[in-house]
């Protein structure tokens, strides 16, 4: 059932291309239908595998001579991320409702991207995973370069290059792993059973991890994220921040960490106080948290604030992964979901509700417009989303970061206070942006009347409602997702990790 998420999406792409260029409404409807369809498929699949344990969906030999299989499988982590993808995809379509320039191409690329993402989350054969991973990259480029706003071509190309450098590193690692294993298979599970030589893991792990983590916005390879997010059209930036960054984190967990667990073992010597790659990446993640938040604190461009906030929040994901504690990693996966939803929401407000109406993202210019009064709905949504993003309890972000920090307390406690600093700064920038954009005091500058702005449309309200509901639901009943995630973390796939420094 889950496999249909991929098929439906690509089917949607095909049909989109066959549509006549004029049929704008049709292609919108079709896009929405496709997204909803694949989401429904996800739900059905979830209903079928509620336990979160590993379940193979399709497994047919693909390139026998290389032992490559077309192997789709899902565990709780995949399902969680599939749910996320479905939600964000639907919301993204809703928030792209106002795209009328080359609509069908837009949605074709959009759905292709989604299909690729679904593929990554579902494929259990490293080769297949990589294939989908790359498939997801190209549409991003065109979405941004064609429909984007500021410096779109720069942003798009930057994103593409970063992604490709990353995937190049991954490719090297994967091929090397394939060869070294000599098992003539690309199956994740079997590869994870292979005991690679430690010295090999010691260079393969950082290679693959960084390769994926680039896409997860690991500092200092994060700069594609803000530029890309800002340049992208709303729907795309929702997908970028909401889903694509998760691809990176997912790859880190699924491939890098599952295949090369010993890569995180201590080196046996210390450089600048670091004893292992684990420590290095944990620190980088932490720097990402604080640094991203701080940069966001002093941005003038509303969208950049959100862009950097994603860097900061993805830092939590990576930190959680590096804790190697069950709770920390569960928190990381939860944070993937949470950040996906929240960032999507924030970008929707900034890009669609505000920018498409006021045509400026400069916080100082937005101030005098008194958007709090003229766009109360946008203001409300942003406040709620902001609360969620700053990790107020009751929203998904809180539970996620809570668990990540718990893991961090156990793994490397000295980092925790710094993470706390990151959270505080996060609160500061969210609140600053919110005030400057929506509730600025009566200042000079052009105060525009309410009627000057087109009212919030139904699709926007629907999309916002979906995402908000998701965030709050996950915040109040994280158990629902944890039930999926925890068994997945205990699956044999991560035996290596557990044998390693997992506690």
């Amino acid at each position: 059932m889950l496999a249909w998420t991929i098929y439906i999406s690509f089917l949607g792409v095909a049909v989109q291309m066959l549509l006549p260029g004029k049929a704008v409404r049709a292609s919108r409807a079709l896009a929405l239908l496709t997204a909803a369809g694949s989401f429904a498929a996800t739900l059905a699949g979830w209903a079928r595998h509620p336990g979160g344990e590993l379940a193979t969906i399709v497994r047919v030999p693909w390139i026998p001579s290389l032992g490559i299989e077309y192997h789709l499988a899902a565990d709780g982590i995949s399902i969680t991320l599939l749910l996320l993808t479905g939600l964000v995809a639907i919301a993204g379509v809703l928030f792209s409702w106002n795209i009328d320039h080359r609509t069908k191409e837009f949605f074709a690329f959009y759905l292709a991207l989604i299909g690729g993402v679904y593929g990554v989350f579902l494929s259990f054969d490293v080769f297949l995973l990589f294939v989908f991973y790359e498939i997801a990259i190209i549409p991003k480029y065109f979405l941004i370069a064609t429909w984007g706003s500021t410096r779109r071509e720069y942003g798009a190309m930057k994103l593409a290059i970063y992604s490709f450098v990353g995937s190049a590193m991954v490719l090297v690692g994967v091929i090397a792993a394939y060869v070294v294993a000599g098992a003539h298979t690309m199956n994740l599970l079997e590869l994870s059973k292979v005991a690679f030589p430690v010295h090999f893991q010691m260079w393969a792990f950082p290679l693959v991890f960084v390769g994926f983590a680039i896409l997860a916005g690991l500092w200092p390879f994060h700069t594609w994220a803000p530029t890309g997010h800002v340049a992208a059209p709303t729907g795309a930036s929702m997908l970028l921040a909401g889903v694509v960054m998760k691809l990176g984190a997912y790859g880190c967990l699924r491939v890098a960490m599952a295949l090369f667990p010993r890569g995180m073992d201590p080196w046996g010597f210390r450089v600048l106080g670091f004893g292992s790659w684990r420590g290095v990446f944990a620190l980088l993640a932490l720097i990402g948290i604080v640094y991203g938040a701080m940069v966001a604190l002093v941005q003038k461009d509303f969208k950049f604030v959100i862009g950097y906030s994603s860097v900061s929040h993805m830092g939590f994901v990576l930190l959680g992964l590096m804790t190697l504690r069950q709770i920390g990693m569960a928190g990381a996966v939860l944070q993937m979901f949470s950040h996906g939803v929240i960032a999507g929401l924030l970008f929707a407000v900034v890009g669609r509700m505000v920018y498409d109406r006021t045509h400026t993202r400069d916080l100082d210019e937005l101030g005098p417009m008194r958007l709090g009064k003229t766009l109360p709905f946008a203001a409300t949504v942003f406040v709620l989303a902001g609360m969620a993003s700053m990790g107020l309890p009751g929203f998904s972000g809180f539970v996620a970061e809570l668990q990540v920090l718990m893991g961090a307390w156990q793994a490397f406690w000295p980092l925790v206070p710094c993470a706390g600093l990151g959270i505080v700064v996060g609160i500061a920038y969210t609140w600053r942006a919110m005030q400057k954009a929506f509730f600025a005091d009566a200042g000079e500058g052009r105060a525009i009347a309410a009627h000057a702005l087109p009212p919030i449309t139904l699709p926007e309200e629907a999309g916002a409602a979906i995402l908000l509901a998701a965030s709050i639901a996950a915040g109040l009943f994280p158990q629902v997702l944890l039930k999926l995630i925890l068994p997945a973390l205990n699956s044999p796939l991560f035996d290596g990790l557990r044998r390693g420094s997992w506690q």
Partner: protein, 516 residues
């Protein structure tokens, strides 16, 4: 208790907020009346709880459901005397604040909805017994408060609101981190269970064992974590020097909101100390006794003195609230700071805690009323509230200044009014425990008296400032509105048993536990 009364109590204002927001869109008055009615309903509910509450028993009206087992989050509600008292206070203050917010006309439906949300936050905070559950409300109560200040506040509202919010958030984050550590080391987030652990002396070893931090002794770890939690509450109370958000916030907030802030929200901090820090970190508090007492003294004395230096009525009252809460802190630290559970010590601690409880209630009531009077004054002086803007008002608005005088005297601690009882008991309890602290803190009493009397003198007596010769006295409606508060001051002043009776069981048990 089959009926989840506490959940209902908490849910009521939330739905109320929705109703007000939806219904009051057109008509500010309607919104206000609706909100008032709703708050009175919850007051009635609280009174029913009060009635149904068994003074002897401890934890009552419990509700308990599993929530997130993986880190010990539970849905657990329940109140003992402390919780009940706090519920009562919030239930009393909120209607007062709504009644005092008549001048809010712009986006009134939003305003009153937020007020009700704030009330929900308060109720949730005072009834929750599991950190996770409690923290949700603890944080969520900030948001309405923030917007109440931000959207309806005075000229410097943005700065004030942000400072208030970020400042408190810093505290919360520290608190959160501390509790993460605890939950890791024990797997529990339940206040009572943690308290039991702490009493059994297992908490500290657990923490030390689980978080084997580099070369840190168990004591250091304990102190580290305690410091985190302490910061969270110290900011909220606030203890000097974590208080700088308060004067601006109180000054800039619309007076109705200030009533809420000082009347109810400031109690959240003290409540946190009583419910969380004192039971769970008893040992650490004992270690840190002296510094803590000094903090409390600083809060008492410097709060009062700073109040003396102010020229704006609201700021004066703000600082004097700091000073009054300082007494609570003094009582708590003294009670928590000393070991030994011989009957005498227990008795003294009980006295101090009794005083703290009463002081919380009384200060809430009195301060709220005072700000209310300031609001009335502002209404008549179109916004002027400088200490020296008035003078001789007693000749033209005798009723107002009579009633306000009573409120002022209550806050000054005149015997016979509620203000006296709490402070007296606190000092009575603290004196035998930490005579020096009590002695120094008495200065605070003196200075407060001077401050309050100065208000009386500058505002009400002396030559009449001709500017106000036309000022109107309290209307009948206003008199009726404030009457209950004033009456309550007398009642509590003369018959504190009303409260002491209800909280006795809790206090005595607390005092007993503190010994161990």
């Amino acid at each position: 208790m089959t009926m989840p009364l506490l959940s209902i109590l908490t849910a009521l204002p939330i739905f109320g907020a929705l109703i007000v927001f939806a219904a009051g869109r057109r008509d500010a008055q309607l919104a206000r009346r609706l909100a008032l009615v709703l708050s009175l309903v919850s007051l009635a509910l609280v009174l029913y709880l009060w009635h149904a509450f068994d003074p002897a028993g401890l934890l009552q009206f419990q509700e308990r459901h599993a929530w997130i087992p993986s880190f010990g989050a539970e849905y657990r509600l329940g109140i003992d005397g402390l919780g009940l008292l706090m519920l009562l206070l919030s239930a009393i203050v909120v209607p007062m604040s709504i009644a005092a917010s008549a001048q809010i006309t712009e986006r009134a439906h939003l305003y009153f909805a937020l007020v009700l949300l704030l009330q929900a936050g308060l109720f949730g905070t005072f009834t929750a017994l599991n950190f996770f559950h409690w923290f949700i409300f603890w944080e969520l109560s900030l948001i309405p408060a923030f917007f109440l200040i931000k959207l309806w506040g005075g000229p410097k509202r943005s700065a004030a609101a942000t400072q208030f919010f970020v400042y408190t958030m810093v505290g919360s984050v520290a608190l959160l981190l501390a509790f993460l550590a605890i939950s890791l080391s024990t797997g529990k987030l339940d206040f009572l269970e943690l308290a039991d652990l702490a009493r059994a002396g297992q908490l500290l070893p657990a923490m030390a064992g689980k978080l084997a931090l580099h070369a840190m002794t168990a004591r250091q770890i304990g102190l580290l974590i305690f410091a985190g939690a302490f910061l969270g509450f110290a900011v909220k109370v606030p203890l000097i020097p974590f208080h700088t958000w308060l004067p601006t916030a109180y000054e800039e907030a619309p007076t109705g909101t200030t009533m809420l802030l000082t009347g109810a929200m400031s109690k959240m901090g003290v409540y946190g100390f009583l419910r969380i820090l004192m039971p769970i970190f008893a040992e650490e508090m004992r270690w840190m006794r002296t510094p803590l007492l000094w903090l409390a003294i600083a809060t008492v004395v410097m709060g009062a003195s700073a109040a003396f230096a102010q020229r704006d009525l609201k700021r004066i009252l703000a600082y004097s609230s700091i000073n009054h809460l300082g007494y609570c802190m003094l009582g708590i630290f003294a009670a928590a700071g000393f070991a030994g559970n011989d009957p005498a010590a227990v008795m003294e601690k009980a006295a101090a805690l009794d005083g703290v409880f009463l002081q919380m209630l009384n200060h809430g009531l009195t301060a709220a009323t005072l700000f209310w009077f300031v609001a009335m004054l502002e209404k008549r002086s179109d916004g002027l509230r400088g200490l020296n803007d008035f003078g001789g008002l007693r000749q033209i608005v005798p009723v107002m200044c009579g009633l306000m005088g009573i409120a002022l005297f209550s806050s000054l601690g005149l015997p016979g009014l509620n203000g006296f009882v709490g402070e007296f008991l606190i000092f009575k309890g603290v004196f035998p425990l930490a005579p020096w602290a009590a002695a120094i803190a008495v200065l605070g009493l003196l200075v407060t008296a001077i401050v309050i009397l100065t208000i009386l003198q500058r505002v009400f007596s002396g030559p009449l400032n001709p500017k106000w010769s036309a000022m109107a006295d309290l209307t009948v409606g206003e008199r009726i509105a404030v009457a209950p508060a004033i009456a309550l001051m007398f009642v509590l002043g003369i018959y504190p048993q009303l409260i002491l009776g209800a909280i006795n069981g809790t206090v005595v048990q607390m005092a007993k536990y503190l010994g161990q």
